[in-house]
C-alpha cells in the first residue's frame, strides 16, 4: 500500500467565498487510520482553517458524519485503506444546509425530534418507591434496535424523499417515535400518531430503504416507517367504525 493518499476536501468559507471549492491534501495512510485521522492530520499540520465536527472517535457520539466518496459515513470508523490508492473525496452530508466546510446545520432534525415526543408517556406514573416497571427480555427486544439511533444524520443524508421534501419528518425521528411506541412502559401512541400521520409524517416515505442501508448502528428506520403506516392505517379504519373511547 502507498504510504500517502490524497484527500479531496470540500471547502466553503461563507465569509470569503460565495460557493464551495475543493482542496487537495496529501496525508499519510497507515493501515489503522480512519478518514477522521486524515482530517485531523490536515488540521494539525497543514491547514488549521479546515472545520468539521468530531468527538468520541468510537462511532457512538454521532458527530462526524460526512459524505465519503459519495456515501454517507461516520468518518471515525471509515478506514482510509478502504479507498485503495485514493483519492478520498470528503464532502459535507447531503440534504442539509452547509454552515462551513464539512459542517452542516441539523436544527431541522432537532425540531422534528421534539415533535414526535420521544419520551415515555403514561396516564399515571408509578411512584419510585414501587420500583421498576417489569419488562421481559422479549419486550425489550421489541423496541431495542430503534433505541440504538445515535442521531448521526446519515439516514437523512441518504433519504431521497428528505432531499426533495424537507418537510418530511424523516427516518431517525420516525424510528425514535417507534422506539417509544413499542416500549411496553409507554402509552403515548395516540399522541405520537397525531404528529406522524400528517402528510409530511410517515406517509411521505415511499420506501426507498436507503436509510436502513446506511445506518451505522443497524437500525431499520424503513422497517419502522412501514410498520407505523400499518398502525396508522388501522387507526384510521377504526376511527370510521368506533367512537374514540372504544379504540
Amino acid at each position: 500500500m502507498a504510504d500517502k493518499i490524497t484527500m479531496q476536501v470540500t471547502r466553503y468559507r461563507p465569509e470569503e467565498e460565495s460557493g464551495a471549492t475543493v482542496q487537495e491534501y496529501e496525508v499519510p495512510c497507515p493501515k489503522d487510520w480512519v478518514v477522521l485521522d486524515g482530517l485531523n492530520y490536515i488540521k494539525d499540520r497543514l491547514d488549521g482553517s479546515l472545520s468539521y465536527r468530531w468527538s468520541c472517535r468510537m462511532g457512538v457520539c454521532g458527530s462526524c458524519g460526512m459524505t465519503v466518496n459519495g456515501e454517507p459515513k461516520l468518518t471515525c470508523e471509515t478506514f482510509l485503506s478502504e479507498y485503495g490508492a485514493g483519492p478520498v473525496r470528503v464532502e459535507p452530508l447531503r440534504n442539509f444546509p452547509v454552515i462551513r466546510d464539512l459542517v452542516v446545520e441539523i436544527g431541522d432534525f432537532m425540531r422534528k425530534l421534539v415533535a414526535v415526543k420521544p419520551w415515555i408517556i403514561r396516564d399515571q406514573e408509578k411512584p419510585l418507591i414501587e420500583g421498576e416497571y417489569l419488562q421481559t427480555p422479549d419486550e425489550l427486544e421489541e423496541y431495542r434496535q430503534f433505541s440504538m439511533c445515535i442521531n448521526c444524520m446519515l439516514c437523512y443524508s441518504a433519504c431521497p424523499i428528505y432531499g426533495l421534501e424537507p418537510a418530511f419528518i424523516g427516518p431517525a425521528a420516525i424510528a425514535l417515535a417507534q422506539r417509544y411506541n413499542l416500549d411496553s412502559r409507554d402509552q403515548g401512541n395516540d399522541e405520537r400518531l397525531e404528529a406522524l400521520s400528517v402528510h409530511d409524517g410517515i406517509w411521505g416515505c415511499t420506501f426507498v430503504g436507503e436509510c436502513t442501508a446506511v445506518c451505522p448502528k443497524h437500525v431499520d428506520p424503513a422497517g419502522a416507517i412501514q410498520r407505523y403506516k400499518l398502525t396508522a392505517a388501522l387507526e384510521e379504519l377504526k376511527s370510521f367504525v368506533l367512537p374514540r373511547k372504544a379504540r
Partner: protein, 579 residues
Amino acid sequence: MAPTHDVLLVGGGGAGLRAAIAIAETNPRLRIAVVSKVYPMRSHTVSAEGGAAGVARSDDSLDEHAYDTISGGDWMSDQDAVEAFVKEAPQELIRLEHWGCPWSREADGRVAVRPFGGMKKMRTWFAADKTGFHLLHTLFQTSLRYTSVERYDEWFVTKLLVDGGRVQGVVAIEIMSGKVEAITASAVIICTGGCGRVFPFTTNANIKNGDGMALAYRAGAPLKDMEFVQYHPTGLPFTGILITEAARAEGGHLINKDGYRYLQDYDLGKPEPKPVFRSMELGPRDRLSQAFMKEVAKGRTIDTPYGPVVHLDLRHLGKKIITTKLPLVRELCLKYEALDPITDLIPVRPVVHYMMGGVHTDMNGATPLAGLYAAGEAACVSINGANRLGSNSLTECLVFGARAGRAAAEYASTAKDPTPAIAAQAKDEQRRLEQDFLRKTGGHERLATLRVQMQKTMEASAGIYRAGDALAQAASELRSLQERLCTVSLDDRSRTFNTERIAALEFSFMLDVAEAITASALRREESRGAHQRTDFPARDDQRFLAHSLAHRGADGSCRIEYTPVTITRWPPAERVYGR
C-alpha cells in the same frame, strides 16, 4: 436588570441534563439554560459502557456499597457524601427506568445487575455494554418535555462572570456565527466532565478538555484532589478505545505474553475459573494498571508499534455471552482491531480514563464561590477518593446532578440581580477573544505542536507511577508552554464555525488543569490509590489523609492547601483484595 436565566448549566451530559430536569421539576417557573459546546446527545457520557451502580438485590446493602466505594478510594472519600450517594443511587436508577432507559433485564422482567471491579455484590445496572449511550439519550429525550429548559447548543463558554464574590453568568461564543455574548444567570452549574485530553493516550473524547474545571479555577474556586488520575487497565492500543470492565465482570481474563494470569502475583487473589468479587480481574482499576507496569518491567508484556500490551481473553465466554452482554466490545474489536473476541485475544494497555479530582464542592454541589455549583466528573464531592470504582460515575452524575440542580434552584430563587460591573467584564472578554485570536499579529507557534508537548509532558510525569523530580520538571515545562501559548498563530481568522479558535481556548483550559494536576501530585508525598510516588511508596495517613485544594494565584501560579477527609463509620484501614 433581571438575569436572562435563573440557573445556567455549562455542559449537557449526564450530570447537566439530570440537573436541568431536577430544576424544572423543583420549580417550573425557573428559566433554565443548558449551554453546551456540542449538541447534548454528543456529550461524552455517550461513551460510557459497563453500567451504573446502585444496590438492587436483597443480598446487598447500602453499607456494603459504601464500604466498597470507600476502600476502593483508599479512604480518601468523604464518607458522609458516600452514604448519601449509595442511599440515593437506587432511586435515581429506577427513575431512569421510569423515563425509559432500556436496562437489560432478567427473564422475569426485573432489571438485571452484573458484577464490577472492586464491588463485593452484583449491583451494576447495565444496558448491554452501551449504558452511557442509553442513559444519555434517555435523559436528553426526557429533557425535551420541559419547556422551561432553553438550550444553547454549540455555544462555547469562555469565562464565568463574577462580581461581588458571586457568579452571575458566563460569556460564550455561539460557534456557528462566532458571536460572543454574555448570558447572565443567578446560578451556574459546571457539568463539563473530565479532562482526559491533557494526556496523549486516553479513552476520552476530543471534547474532554477540562473546560469547566478551568473556568471555575480561574474564577477563584479551588480544584480538589487533582493528582488522582484514573488509568483504566484495558484500552485498545493506538485508538485508546475502552474495552469495558464488564468484559472481566462477565469472566474475561488478563494474561501476559506467556498466557499467565499475572494479577495473581500482585496480591489480588488466586486465579479461579469463574469471576470472584473483589479479586483478580475484578480488583480495582488502580491496582490493575499498576500490575501492568510491573509486568512491563519484568519483560512479560507483548511489544507492539503502539507500546507494550497484555491480552484480554474472552474466548472461553463463548459466542452467546459475548454477543448478548458485550456486543459493543465485539463491534469495536472487529472494527478497530480486525479481530473477533470469540476466537481471538484482545490486546490492551492502561489508558487515561477518569479524573477523581475536580471542582471542590460540598454534598449539594455547591463550591466555595457563591452562585457556582458543579456535578459529575467535573466536580469533586468527593465520593471517589483516590480511585473511583467502575460504574459509580454514571450514578454519580445522576445523584449529584439532581442534588446540585435542587440546590442551585433554591439559591437562584433568592439571588439578587446582576451587578453593573458584569457588562464591563463581558466587553473585556469580547475584546480578548477578538484581539488574541482573530486579529492577532505576529506569533509563529502551531497549536498542535504545543498540545503534543503538553501531552508528552503529562504522560512522562503524571502517569501511573510518578516521582518528585519529574513532576517538578513537568511543572516548569507547563509554565513555559503557558508562555509559548501567547505566541500561537491561528490559520483561521474567520467567525463562522471557527473550530481552531475553540481548540486554542480548549488548549488554554487544559494547560491550567495540567498545572493543577502536577502541582497537586508534587505536593502529595505519599502513595495512595491512583497516585503512586516511586519516591514515597507508602500511604501516609499522618500527613496526607486530606484533600488537596489547588488555588490559582493572580499570576497564574498554583497554590496547594489541604482540607480534612470526612470519616464517619469506616476508619482508615488496609485495602484488601482477593484474600
